[in-house]
Symmetry: C2
Subunit: 196 residues, 2 copies
DNA sequence: AGACAGCTTGGCAGTGACTGACAGGTTGGC
DNA sequence: GCCAACCTGTCAGTCACTGCCAAGCTGTCT
């Protein structure tokens, strides 16, 4: 059972990785919108139906690993020592994401550029990020000494949303600078201006 | 020429308003996803083709007036006296949006709930909001005494993105509270926690 | 008044993302 | 070798959305 599961799982992982690879290549060659799912399927050697079974949507071809990164983020923030300020804990979460990424920096830049220059991808990205924010609410509420109600607390939401906003701004600027600027430094600048 | 233009324009406005009305009714009755554009078209008495000419996308049936509100926002922020702090100027912009809305509070709540509970609508909403943010960059840069480069400044981006983040958080909480809470108060709470 | 130009509208056919149903093949447990 | 669980491909269909073309309405010019 376990062996079989892992065998299926392994071949599945390999297939997924290869499909993502060919898809990204096509997207960069001819653009995201101009590339059809049928094209990706035939070039990757799978049927269109299976392609949609692996990735529920076309956007997931680019954003598929976001879910896993979200769990990394929440876990890392929750694991920070209580002495750390809320801001530092959140920042530690995002550095954990950077460390958990299994792409080369060059690849990350390509994907980020693709996301930020394609409307539907950017939308999808923001939606996933919104789910991360909601998952963080109880963690941050506890850290700020707020008892969790059925509706999130405005202060916790504000802090979380602000952190994401600055991370986003830094990421977008990093892409606009062609990856030459230090994204971390941009984030610090943005947040410092906010909290000044 | 002018008369005829305004005549066309007026009948167009009336048609648009009526279409939006029937669309929102359908969306509330049977849900956004479950309602097809063909249904909206036939119930509104226009062809499907014309419906897509009025509203380029299904989401625009709900978010169509966002563009106009964006201009109101940018204009209001730019019109604030220089003595006002950046934060106060941005807040004034959002109160201007509230004042410019031509819907009843009940209607605003319904639309907001629809947007926040429907993934595709929320995505579209965020995308439009992102465009507002970009439009605000030069205005805020000038107000913060930053010379505009070809790439936005991280500090200006951070302040703008944070303001939007807190407005969003407040709006979402306002919807979650069923419109009973004071959205403005929620915004103040969120921003105060951020800048504490 | 009547021809003309500009603009709008509707019908039609097509594309592309996505889904459900069905049939066949593969894998692992007995 | 058999059975059950699972995966895969094919097909047909839905729905948002678009280009194309013909028909209609409006105001203008002669």
């Amino acid at each position: 059972m376990e062996k079989s599961a892992s065998l299926w799982e392994r071949s599945r992982q390999a297939a997924v990785a290869e499909i993502v690879d060919t898809a990204l290549t096509l997207f960069e060659e001819q653009g995201y919108e101009a590339t059809t799912m049928a094209q990706v399927a035939s070039k990757a050697g799978v049927s269109q139906r299976s392609l949609f079974r692996y990735f529920g949507t076309k956007e997931d071809l680019v954003c598929s690993d976001q879910d896993a990164l979200g769990e990394v983020l929440v876990g890392a923030v929750a694991a920070q020592p209580a002495e750390l300020s809320t801001w530092d804990a959140l920042r530690a979460g995002f550095t954990a994401i950077l460390a958990a990424s299994n792409h080369t920096p060059q690849r990350v830049l390509e994907i980020s550029r693709l996301i930020f220059t394609t409307a539907s991808l950017r939308s999808r990205y923001f939606e996933k990020r919104l789910r991360w924010q909601h998952a963080l609410v109880p963690v941050i509420e506890q850290r700020m000494g707020i008892e969790s109600g059925e509706v999130p607390d405005a202060r916790a939401m504000g802090v979380i949303a602000t952190t994401f906003a600055c991370v986003d701004a830094a990421t977008e600027l990093w892409v606009l600078h062609g990856g030459k600027a230090d994204a971390f430094e941009l984030y610090e600048q943005a947040l410092a201006a906010v909290r000044a």
